[in-house]
């Protein structure tokens, strides 16, 4: 079994940003993503998550290291000033590297 190094980028943001973020993912070349609703607490206060429009989502995307770089750069420049969010990357290993 051969595994390949990739990056897992995790984004936690207000649900409002959903469409903008998934559009960005397509633009930087991600081939897929996984998304779910979360509650959260942070510098911009608690997000209890009972109204979907006011809630948080977590988006996880596995991408190549270069795509991860572009993604984080654009998140920092275009999204961090506008939306309540955090983003971080983490090293993972995948099978079928052509899929990502």
């Amino acid at each position: 079994m051969k595994t390949h190094p990739m990056k897992l980028v995790t984004i936690v943001c207000e649900a409002y940003a959903r469409e903008a973020v998934t559009k960005l993912l397509r633009e930087v070349g991600a081939h897929g993503y996984t998304l779910f609703a979360v509650e959260g607490d942070g510098s911009q206060g608690k997000r209890p998550g009972d109204i979907p429009e006011f809630a948080n989502i977590q988006i996880e995307v596995v991408v190549s290291p270069t795509v991860a770089d572009t993604l984080l750069t654009r998140l920092e420049k275009e999204f961090f000033p506008r939306y309540a969010m955090i983003a971080f990357e983490c090293e993972v290993r995948v099978l079928r590297k052509e899929k990502f």
Binding site: E14, Y16, E19, A20, A37, K46, P48, G49, D50, I51, P52, E53, F54, A55, K77, E78, R82, Y83
Partner: protein, 326 residues
């Protein structure tokens, strides 16, 4: 003293008391919480039920009767931001984009406030045109569009493409979940008419008031969680959140009489003008004017104007209409 009695009666209705209970839950930090799908399910039910009922009423009344007051409602919604914007900008010293955002919220409408008002009218035996739901449907979007344009003109920021985000806001304002459900159910109701109503009445009409009471429990919690932000928004917005609804409400009632509505219908148009959006507008504004500060527009519409209208506003607008019509 009539107005005081009316207010007292409203305050003791299940809907308002459950709203107060929700406020209490938020203030005492009870771990009571409606799960998101329950909230969504209740809004879907309420919007579909009110839309369907309105559609059936339009079919009964005929478009000939509905188009003029509906047009007036639409115009009123679009115009409200034009006077609230300068008030906020120059009176309240808010930034251009914040002023535009708040103005959009007060031109748009709150479906729950409207529904609570119809319940109140029913409770005090004040008849109204059932097709008034059509006014709710046409008043949600225009103010949002006007507000976004005002904000864009004032800022002209680029990045991510402001043209794109105006289009997004329009899409959101027109195809967003709440307006889609409301208008969709309205059209369905208009096509079905009375025979269709008979089939689904036991689900969409009979238990409606109880569902609303339960939903206001949740809305009380949502509003209550915003209460602690009241100190952040300043005194100006506090006054704004109470006085502007009174002015807009009066405008709405007058306009209603002008275009030939009955007393009940004019009251509802007043309620709509007075109400501020806290779902559709925030979504659209957050997407198209992300620089605007959500604490300002959400706190004023959700924690000031919404509770004010639900408790005191609705009986007051009816009283205004009664004076005008007597």
């Amino acid at each position: 003293m009539e107005i005081l009695d009316a207010i007292r009666a409203n305050l003791l209705s299940p809907a308002v008391l459950f709203f107060a209970l929700g406020l209490m839950a938020a203030l005492t930090k009870s771990d009571l919480k409606f799960p998101e799908p329950l909230y969504v399910g209740l809004t879907i039910y309420l919007l579909v039920a009110i839309g369907f009922k309105g559609g059936v009423a339009i079919a009964e009344a005929g478009l000939a009767k509905v188009w003029l007051p509906a047009l007036a409602a639409l115009a009123l919604g679009a115009l409200i931001p034009l006077w609230t914007y300068p008030l906020l900008r120059f009176g309240g010293k808010f930034s251009a984009v914040d002023s535009a955002a708040i103005a959009a919220h007060y031109g748009s409408v709150s479906a729950v406030t409207f529904i609570a008002a119809t319940n109140y009218l029913k409770a005090v035996n004040q008849p109204y045109e059932d097709y008034a739901t059509a006014f709710l449907a046409v008043m949600e979007s225009p103010a949002i569009l006007v507000g976004v344009v005002l904000g864009k003109l004032a800022t002209k920021t680029e990045g991510e493409g402001s043209g794109v985000s105006l289009k997004k806001a329009m899409h959101e304002a027109i195809f967003g979940r709440s307006i889609f459900l409301l208008v969709g159910a309205l059209v369905v109701g208009a096509l079905c008419g009375k025979p269709g109503m008979e089939k689904v009445e036991a689900f969409f009409v009979t238990p409606f008031q109880g569902v609303l009471a339960l939903f206001l429990l949740e809305m009380g919690m949502v509003a209550g969680r915003r209460l602690e932000d009241l100190k952040k928004v300043g005194l100006f917005l506090l006054g704004f959140g109470v006085l502007v609804p009174l002015v807009n409400g009066t405008l709405g009632v007058y306009l209603g009489q002008l275009v030939g509505l009955e007393l009940g219908g004019a009251t509802l148009l007043g309620v709509l003008s007075a109400s501020a959006s806290y779902i559709a507008a925030p979504v659209a504004i957050r997407i198209s004017l992300p620089e605007a500060n959500p604490t300002l527009y959400l706190t004023s519409s959700l924690a000031i104007t919404f509770p004010f209208n639900i408790t005191l506003g609705i009986p007051i607008y009816l009283e205004i209409a009664r004076h005008l019509y007597s």
